[in-house]
Symmetry: C2
Subunit: 478 residues, 2 copies
Amino acid sequence: MAKKEEKLGINVKKNEDFSEWYNEVVIKAELAEHSVIKGFMVIRPRGYAIWEKIQEYFDRRIKKIGVKNAYFPLLIPESFFKKEAEHAEGFAPELAWISEKEDGIRYALRPTSETIMYDSYAKWIRSWRDLPLRLNQWCNVLRWEVKQTKLFLRTREFLWQEGHCVYETEEDCDKEALLYLLEYKKLCEEILAIPVLEGKKTEKERFAGAKTTYALEALMPDGKALQMGTSHNLGQNFAKAFDIQFLGRDEKEYYPWQNSWGISTRLIGSLVMMHSDDKGLILPPKVAPVQIVIIPIYFEKDKDIVIKKAREICNSLKAYSVELDERDGYTPGWKFNEWELKGIPLRIEIGPKDISKNEVVFARRDNNKKESVKIAHLDKKIKETLDDIQKALYEKAYKFLHSNIATADSWNDFLKHAKNKKLVKAFFCGSKECEEEIKEKSDGITSRVIPFEQPENIGKCVKCGNKAQFLIYFGKAY
Amino acid sequence: MAKKEEKLGINVKKNEDFSEWYNEVVIKAELAEHSVIKGFMVIRPRGYAIWEKIQEYFDRRIKKIGVKNAYFPLLIPESFFKKEAEHAEGFAPELAWISEKEDGIRYALRPTSETIMYDSYAKWIRSWRDLPLRLNQWCNVLRWEVKQTKLFLRTREFLWQEGHCVYETEEDCDKEALLYLLEYKKLCEEILAIPVLEGKKTEKERFAGAKTTYALEALMPDGKALQMGTSHNLGQNFAKAFDIQFLGRDEKEYYPWQNSWGISTRLIGSLVMMHSDDKGLILPPKVAPVQIVIIPIYFEKDKDIVIKKAREICNSLKAYSVELDERDGYTPGWKFNEWELKGIPLRIEIGPKDISKNEVVFARRDNNKKESVKIAHLDKKIKETLDDIQKALYEKAYKFLHSNIATADSWNDFLKHAKNKKLVKAFFCGSKECEEEIKEKSDGITSRVIPFEQPENIGKCVKCGNKAQFLIYFGKAY
């Protein structure tokens, strides 16, 4: 689309004003924009296509595990929230209500679907033969945020998947809660090229109504931690609240064990922050809706032969998602800038000289490197190059994460590292009071995750000096 | 799932109480059920999987045309509805509002997204180069129905796709509005095995705000017509209301032309009604989430050899969606009933005798016919059988439709045919007044579609006797 009146590129530098830079990349790469409705976003085709890639991958993965998709109502009766006390309290401030009432009942728009789903589960589950029950839904949810809107990261409506499974035993339930976390980790690291730290949440940070919350955290280039996905072991809390019971193998009645787990369109935001640069969006090839753009370069006299060859090459690349930019009235340079802004991982340039040598030119989006490639080796070289881009982006992010973790042995260390925007690793007593004090005295640092692997000797709490329970990561969260 | 306390089969006959039979099939085949929230449904995995098959097929088709998916906010400001007067009036009675307000603005939950999308379109479209713009979204919509709820057919929330395209010329716009209608027809006839009548809607029945509404109508076995999909040529109505303008090739400003088109989860209801029988659900193979179920039949001594062979066969059928029912504690007869109820098109039975003859037994869901098939010919026979089931279901439905169309030359004819639950073909003057009178005097018969192909000589209106404008189908609508 030719909006020549607008400056095409990004006006702000990533390392000067990260927040404004992010906003510009999202908008100018046409991923999303602010809606006229306060707190809402419009996900544009280029943004939605990334979500489709994530869905495609993840939906296939969970179906292999035996998860099935379903759809439950958008509205939730007020009384349902009240059944699980912690859940009710946790979500109360974020609920949006509808004006229409039936029999005097008030309805909220779903902020998450535990309650409405488990009301059905109570009817469906009778016997151990009905377990495990593994359902998922891809849907929109509403949380009436009052904090400032940030595209993909904090909007009043977003898209997500929520998985809700039920098991006979606590062991199965916890094992699978961790299995879904592992699936999220694979998605983040292998597809989105974003390394994550996995672990448990503290009592203060866990999901409202859960027994244990497992989570993945990534470190964004501005030093803030972003929660990438969560998986909750709900224990029997909701089963008891919604009276889900099953007849066990011994013919006695039991409450089953449940987990729930979700990822959302905020992952698109993490992609933008993590990989992109001052020229615009950078996407890892595995999640890029368009992986390759072909740009024919010619003077008028060579047009026919160049276009013909470009089309031939485009049609031959069946295994990739390719676009051929044949538009007239735009210079190659303008096209380069546009597709760099939009984040296409690999650009293939083709001109009369290249054709005479049976070559094309590859230009990588991630490191700007150019190289001539024999057309005869095209398929092999594309595969290698895309694999290498995927790997390079992951490695860069991995290096960034691990060079920004700092261990704090004292409260002074803690404050120093926090000020330097590090993810702070420290021993912690785990108490809610201590965690609140840390947040207050550190300008908003919160606990992120307790890694599964813990050192043999646990020292003293970085804040209160009492015996610590575990080693944990602290950071400023999005 | 073994809910032995419940009777497995359908308690009502299709030709005795169609409405109750429908409800029972939907619920007992576990496609959907009534939610605790009045007017809402829960789409269960077996129902949702049918929707996924429809999405998979249709999404691929429209992407080939150049349509891209996006996502717009669930909420719509009150003022947006008021911009297009007919649209506002048409949807006013069905809107649900939220209690939360921003700056005093009232928001409705989307009943359809013309207004919220076109507000963005006005910002995005600048030049003829931006056209055609072809977007679609798969989402939930809310229409606050007061009539009695019917699963899949009339619920306050349903899932659908809504396509919204913008063109430079009226001709392109109308041509593509018809192209999407044709895509719907292919979906209905080739995938769902439901023949449809296509045509235009009358002024009274067209979409609120449209210039022309094109629609597909199918005839259900109870003699009621079901609208399967619609495609609206919106003309420039919304472009003018939302001030969408583009710079034409001649550097002058123009209003573009728009169409919108949709199909919804009601298609799942049409499948149930059209094909199913007193034993439960029947699904055409092309839309069946599970196409084949394999039932091993054995006495304990043969168990190992039969299960082994059944697994071998199951694993060999990669091109189909197959389930092997290995469950212990259920007789083969019980399993037959269950999978017939759930609508699996083809059952493969395998026992020790079959194995000794290198055979299996095919049992077709649609006509109950059984036949022995050599294992060596399995692949070929499965393909033939599934193709034949698909064809047979379509042909049966086709015969039903065309033997239930009756031409009315007089008002008496009209009433007689209507009473006999026929789709009535008649000449009609097209006036709103006459149409209202017909509805009133015929116990609710409405105009369905005006076929594209019209006879050379148009007679007199079946009701008022004035000069008719066209030949049209009338029927009782769902």
